[in-house]
Amino acid sequence: MSLRSPLGKVLGLGAAKEGASHWWTQRVTSVGLLLLTPWLLISLLVLGDLSYDSVVAWIGAPLNTTLLSLLLVVWVYHAQLGVQVVVEDYVAHEGAKLLLILAVNFLLIALGVLGVFSVLRIAFTTAGLN
């Protein structure tokens, strides 16, 4: 049962316009990152060799491709959620706020797509086969 009045909901009253789902998604992405970032760190340390051949072979392994892609999506999503609240909180000028929010969203999405595309490209073009 929402405490918001129907009029308030429709008019999007309040600084961030809506927030409960944002709060939850921020938590979910946090837990995702808590699982995936140690995985990446430990995997690279165990791999030990960061030369081109070694890295490309590692990325091409199906499990690594999958987890790396998921990490990028969750990472970018979490970053977007976080940066957006910072902009909403500290940028007073409505026009600048809107522009900044658009810019941050577009940049992060582009980074995410480039990252996932790179991972997939490596996976589809290298012999990760045994």
């Binding site: 938590r27 970032t37 960061l50 030369s51 990325i59 976080g82 990252g115």
Partner: protein, 138 residues
């Protein structure tokens, strides 16, 4: 929308710094810095996707002392933001919100983040020790 020259309530410029608001702002600052670092992660992946020549250029960039300093700062930010994030998740369950617990957990997170960062950095140095290993340049 509305551009009235209303005075806004000052916060960062006026409120006294304490561990509570300092760690909270630090969480935001580290989050922003981490986001900037995403560019380096994606650059590394894109370089690998382009091929050995691009990857060699990436290695040169990453080996540069300034980049190494930035990477360590990024690691510090990552450790603090992650540990403080866990602190936030614990708060979400309702625990640790009392003043004493919050102060202890805050300083614990701060100290741990430095220790953990140094440990990981040393580990990485020993694992990725030779430039040859890093770039296959030779």
């Amino acid at each position: 929308m509305s551009n009235y020259e209303r005075p806004l309530s000052p916060h960062l410029q006026i409120y006294r710094w304490q561990y509570s608001n300092a760690f909270s702002i630090l969480n935001r600052l580290t989050g922003l810095f981490l986001t900037v670092g995403t560019v380096l992660l994606v650059y590394w992946l894109a370089a690998a996707a382009q091929g050995p020549v691009s990857y060699a250029s990436a290695v040169i960039l990453f080996s540069h002392p300034l980049t190494q300093v930035a990477l360590f700062l990024w690691l510090l930010s990552f450790s603090f933001h992650t540990l403080n994030g866990v602190r936030h998740l614990v708060w979400d369950t309702g625990h640790g919100l009392e003043r004493r617990a919050a102060r202890t957990s805050g300083w614990l997170v701060f100290a741990l983040s430095i220790v953990v960062s140094v440990l990981i950095w040393l580990l990485a140095l020993t694992r990725f020790s030779s430039r040859v290993e890093m770039g296959g340049l030779v």
